[in-house]
């Protein structure tokens, strides 16, 4: 009698290795899109410096390290700046975790499409469903 085989796997996501594996341009784009939407009234400039992202948000000068740490250059003086600093680390951690998850999905898709026949590809919510022929 036929029985299907099933395996559940957990891969690393959201750790420094995968975060560093995000394309620098992709990392900048993810950050830019999030910060521009979250703080539309503040002037925004983002640049990469090696593995770091340098962020100018209003008067704040921030650096996002490759391991996800957020550091402040200078001081946060007013209550708005302090509020932004209070909420940004968790928000950016979640943002990058999701970006890493999507990047992992794409890496798996590209790897399998390069080795097997990709019969079907479907996005279901935030999950990617593939069917391949081995």
């Amino acid at each position: 009698m036929p029985c299907n085989a099933v395996a559940m796997v957990t891969a690393r996501v959201g750790d420094p290795t995968l975060l560093a594996s995000l394309e620098p341009a992709q990392r900048l784009e993810v950050l830019r899109a999030y910060l521009a939407a979250a703080y539309p009234d503040l002037q925004l400039d983002i640049q990469s410096e090696g593995a770091r992202c340098l962020i100018r948000l209003g008067t704040l000068r921030l650096a996002l390290e490759a391991d996800g740490r957020l550091t402040l250059s200078g001081n946060a003086y007013d209550s708005r700046e302090q509020q932004i600093l209070a909420e940004l680390p968790a928000a950016l951690a979640e943002l990058l975790r999701r970006a890493c998850g999507l990047a992992l999905q794409e890496r798996i898709r590209q790897t399998l499409a390069g080795c097997y026949v990709l019969l079907e590809e479907q996005q279901v919510g935030e999950s990617l469903v593939l069917r391949i022929e081995c």
């Binding site: 036929p2 559940m8 796997v9 999701r98 399998l112 999950s127 069917r131 391949i132």
Partner: protein, 67 residues
Amino acid sequence: MQLRIVILPDGRFGLYSEDGGFAEGAQALAEVLATLGAAGIEPIEVGRVEQHRHEDQSIREEIRHAH
């Protein structure tokens, strides 16, 4: 053999063989995992490969064989 792969956004993914028997399905899953590993996608946890059968599968098989 056809496999279905469901990749969640948190790094977990499931591999399901959709035809054939358990032994060849398990082998196909192992090959896909090896392919992913060779591409640098190293699993940190792999659950035991299990057999899965729908409750009505034996009935459906019997009906199919009866025809």
